[in-house]
Amino acid sequence: MSYRFLPHTGDVAVELVAPDEAGLRAAGIDALRELLVGTSPVREVVERPIAPQGRDAGEQLVRFLEEALYLYDAEGFVPARGSAAGVLGEPFDPARHTPAGEVKAVTYHQAAVRRDAAGLHVTVVFDV
């Protein structure tokens, strides 16, 4: 399971690679956490459930990450790690969490999951 940032002029593109869809969600949370709070350590204090939504694997991943972003933006819940049922994390603490940048949204642009010998791949573009 991994993520890497790709060149994108206007926004931020991330390639996620994982053996399965749960791994893609976890990699997506790792990327989102880096965009939101950089390398600030985030504890796994609370699990917030996120119900699967969307017509295919790509849409489901975008909706999952969008929900995690909403929890951060509206409720100050900082994601630490993707879990089987949702996302683990803790409330934002300005003493320990340094905002790294604003993420406006998770887009559907290019978000089609494809499989090859290495597993599942998807590119997610974040509007920043």
């Binding site: 002029t9 909403y70 940048g101 604003e102 290019q110 089609a112």
Partner: protein
């Protein structure tokens, strides 16, 4: 699209353009395109596009049902998601579509320009204090919120319904401000009830905040005038100090867009709409999904108008605190434009007036002189078009033209356009101190984080002078004045 998963009909990344003249390029119709693309650029700007997907995105927009005329891109075009940034597309108002991706997440992101009565020589000695006051008065940065503005739900509904008019009625500005705002700062089709509770939750404490990313408050001065009569009419005397405010509808707008994308993706099959990029998803204007988005989008746009109105009020407060009450009272609104919006407008198409829904994503309305939608004070000039550049070089004030009305559905560019990714900009800035470099040029920076300043370093953007020169030479805007920065507040 260069990556997998796109339906047949998509134009691949090897698409190239055909040169029409020195400033125009055609994207030929192919695959599932319903029309051709038209890009405004000179040779050098076009050369900067060939390695990314911006040209392909112009072609992808041409797939949308009901598109009228070409899929257009301005000289500040750069790679976005769905629509390119700098994109303009018009759809028939009766049987066309509306696309939330054609407006963007930051609905009615726009720019407002204030002109103080003071010259740079008067302000320079107090500039540091003015920047400190602006930084304190207008919250910036990630998740910026105001503790002094608590909106009840009826208040928020009032903002969504009345926009800048709501703010002025509560003392945030003057009646005269409204005449200098596109659409007088209130879009009448707003439906507060179409804005979800989640969107309202995200927006309830962010009114009067600038946010992060490429948003800013910038102090500058009139450095050069290209049309003295027009500059005088706009209050842009030589050396006069100005304040630019760039922001939009904040988290409320982002959520409105996201809510609508979800609804339109789900409805795509029902309307038999297949597109090369899901982010272009759309619905017929008169469908339930289209009407719902229209009401919510206009409401979010009104939130943005109120947001910039309140920030202008706080900026006047900072001017009063540092430069005196007389200076604040003499600080007048030059104009306020939207550059992420869709609007119903009438344009001549094949010699006949036609009602259209014009999407501008990173493009500015640029109506010509005599257009009836302009406020009386601008009727003989044309619409002011505000073009901020990067924080190290300059910005421009233009006017709308007949050429823009004929060729681009009355649209012009919106900024310099990014050249480098944020990641690359941060890499380049790592060993440098960008605020210190700018200070050495006489530009003071106040920022919530270093990361934003690094991402927004001047080299991250195209040269706005080149972009504006293309606009001027192509006749889709007319240069009035150049402004140079002396201070900037970043998120």
């Amino acid at each position: 699209m260069s990556r997998g998963g796109e339906p047949r009909g998509a134009v691949d990344a090897s698409s190239r353009v055909e040169r029409i003249d020195a400033y125009r390029w055609r994207v030929p119709r192919r695959g599932g395109m319903r029309t051709e693309g038209l890009i405004f650029a000179d040779q050098e700007l076009m050369a900067g596009l060939v390695d990314d997907q911006a040209i392909e995105q112009v072609a992808n927009v041409a797939h949308l049902p009901g598109i009228v005329g070409p899929s257009i891109a301005m000289p500040d075009i750069h790679w976005g998601y769905g629509f390119p940034i700098g994109g303009v597309a018009a759809f028939d108002a009766s049987d066309g579509v509306v696309s939330p991706g054609g407006v963007g997440y930051d609905i009615n992101c726009g720019v407002r320009l204030l002109a103080t009565p003071l010259g740079i020589a008067d302000v320079r000695p107090r500039l540091a204090a003015l920047m400190d006051a602006l930084f304190a008065a207008i919250p910036s940065g990630v998740g910026a919120a105001r503790s002094d503005v608590k909106l009840s739900r009826p208040d928020l509904d009032g903002v969504l319904r009345d926009g800048a008019r709501w703010a002025v009625a509560r003392g945030y500005g003057r009646d005269g401000d409204l005449e200098a705002i596109e659409a007088n700062g209130t879009l009448p089709d707003a439906e507060a009830a179409s804005v979800s509770d989640r969107a309202k939750e995200r927006g309830k404490s962010q009114l009067g905040t600038v946010g992060s990313g490429n948003h800013f408050v910038e102090v500058g001065y009139v450095a050069e005038r290209f049309d003295e009569r027009a500059a005088d009419r706009l209050g842009l005397a030589p050396g006069i100090v100005t304040i630019f405010i760039h922001s939009g509808s904040r988290g409320l707008g982002y959520q409105v867009c996201d809510d609508s994308l979800q609804a339109m993706l789900a409805a795509a099959d029902r309307y038999n709409i297949t597109l090369p990029d899901k982010q272009l998803c759309c619905a017929p204007l008169h469908s339930p999904e289209g009407r719902h988005y229209w009401g919510a989008m206009n409401a979010a746009a009104n939130y943005a108008f109120a947001n910039r109105q309140m920030m202008a009020h706080y900026a006047r407060g900072a001017v009063a605190q540092v430069l005196g009450q007389t200076a604040a009272e003499g600080t007048r609104l030059v104009y306020d434009v939207c550059h992420n919006i869709a609007k119903h407008e009438t344009h001549d198409v094949a010699g006949r007036p036609r009602r259209l829904c014009v999407h501008r994503k990173g493009a500015t309305r640029a109506f010509p002189p005599r257009h009836p939608d302009l406020a009386p004070q601008f009727r003989d000039l044309g619409q002011p078009v505000l073009i901020p550049g990067d924080m190290g070089r300059c910005s421009y004030v233009l006017l709308g033209t007949d050429g823009a009305y004929r060729e681009t559905f009355g649209s012009s560019c919106h900024g310099a356009g990014r050249r480098l990714s944020r990641h690359r900009a941060k890499q380049l800035a790592r060993s440098r101190n960008i605020p210190r470099e700018l200070e050495a040029q006489g530009i003071l920076v106040r920022a919530a984080t270093r990361a934003t300043v690094d991402e927004e370093m001047p080299e991250a953007y195209k040269d706005v002078t080149r972009v504006v020169d293309v606009v001027h030479a192509a006749g889709i805007g007319r240069k009035v004045a150049q402004l140079k920065p002396i201070g900037v507040v970043k998120g």
